[in-house]
């Protein structure tokens, strides 16, 4: 039976290196299958994350041959040229151990970008008395719908060079979330949110490299969302809501 040569990064916050494993190749296997095999058969102390294993939760995101991906949705045959695999923890995040990263900075930035909904008609957060009527075909709702499927997997964040080069940069996921709320007509925090996402640590730091959009496993467009935020902020200076 053919084998895969798999290099897995092992270590922690102080440092680490690749460990090499030989894994039996199967006709249909995902990278998550490979990592699980290593942990069960070769390295019981290998730390890694997964949950649903069917592409719904985003927990299993890792760097596979240099690209951030969901390992449960990455078929080995699609990425392993000549049966060689290289697996690292998600980039741009502190490492806890081996393939498990600390997602706290990612979600902290989500909060800093004011990624939470604030009902317009009840500033104290109480449920409004009436239903809001939001036509699904309206441009704003379509813009919001284009980004609401984000499950916070961190692939875009790990793929972004600006996140790597600018420690304060909020990142594509947080900004994408902010954009969905900016387009939510029921939300009452638009002005504060635009303020929170503007500047050198916000949307204005994006250089449209499109790494986020090209890697998003859900086919979202954080880059487009960030461009939308830039427009909204720019035109708001002239009193125009765009």
């Amino acid at each position: 039976m053919a084998s895969l040569q798999v290099s897995v990064w092992r270590g922690d916050a102080t440092g680490g290196d690749f460990a090499r494993y030989t894994v039996p190749a199967r006709e249909n296997q995902t990278v998550l299958d490979v990592i699980s095999w290593i942990q069960r058969e070769e390295a019981p102390d290998l730390a890694y994350r997964f949950a649903c294993r069917v592409g719904m939760c985003g927990s299993c995101a890792m760097e596979v041959n240099g690209r951030a991906r969901w390992t449960c949705r990455t078929h080995v045959s699609k990425v392993a040229t000549d049966g060689v695999l290289e697996v690292r923890p998600l980039a741009n995040l502190p490492v806890i151990r081996d393939l498990a990263t600390d997602m706290a900075p990612f979600f902290d930035k989500w909060a800093r970008a004011r990624g939470t909904f604030q009902p317009k008609d009840s500033p104290d957060g109480a449920v409004p008395a009436d239903f809001a009527v939001v036509p699904p075909e309206s441009p704003k709702r379509q813009a919001a719908d284009a980004g609401i499927e984000c499950i916070g997997c961190g692939v875009c964040y790990a793929s972004c060079d600006i996140v790597a080069w600018n420690k304060d940069y909020l990142g594509p996921a947080a900004l994408n979330r902010a954009w969905t709320l900016v387009n939510d007509v029921r939300d009452g925090a638009r002005a504060d949110r635009l303020e929170a996402v503007a500047g050198d640590a916000g949307c204005h730091a994006c250089h449209s490299t499109q790494s986020c959009t090209s890697r998003c496993p859900k086919g979202l467009d954080p880059s487009g969302a960030i461009a939308g935020l830039k427009r909204s902020i720019f035109w708001s200076v002239f009193g125009i809501t765009r």
Partner: protein
């Protein structure tokens, strides 16, 4: 800073790199360009002397390079403006190709004129 090329092969990333590096080169060249043209203050003879100095093949090649960099940066900049102000996304891949074409064209035109 080391960039792993594997995750950075999409057209938009290359466009970003070209745009940034051409901008860097132009920004470093620009003060020189202005200073040299400032020779004009010393009168026509000084300016003419400077222009003759740039007649060498090496400098002409450098000038062609600069025109190409300028065209590339302009084309890349138009792409960014379209992305940011017009919200173009799907069409932007075509824009990148168009940018490359424009760059080539401008460089060629300059070459042709230099020879003429």
């Amino acid at each position: 800073m080391r960039l792993d090329p594997r995750g950075r092969t999409h057209a938009a990333y290359l466009a970003f790199l070209v745009h940034r590096l051409s901008g860097l080169a132009l920004a470093l060249f620009l003060p020189l360009h202005f200073w040299a043209l400032g020779q004009a203050i010393a009168g026509e003879a000084a300016l003419e002397g400077f222009l003759r100095w740039t007649d060498s093949p090496l400098l002409k090649a450098a000038e062609t390079m600069l025109v190409a960099l300028l065209a590339a940066h302009l084309a890349g900049g138009l792409r960014v403006l379209a992305l940011e102000f017009l919200g173009w996304s799907g069409a932007q891949k075509n824009l990148v190709a168009a940018s490359a074409g424009f760059t080539l064209l401008a460089g060629l035109l300059f070459l042709l004129n230099v020879g003429a």
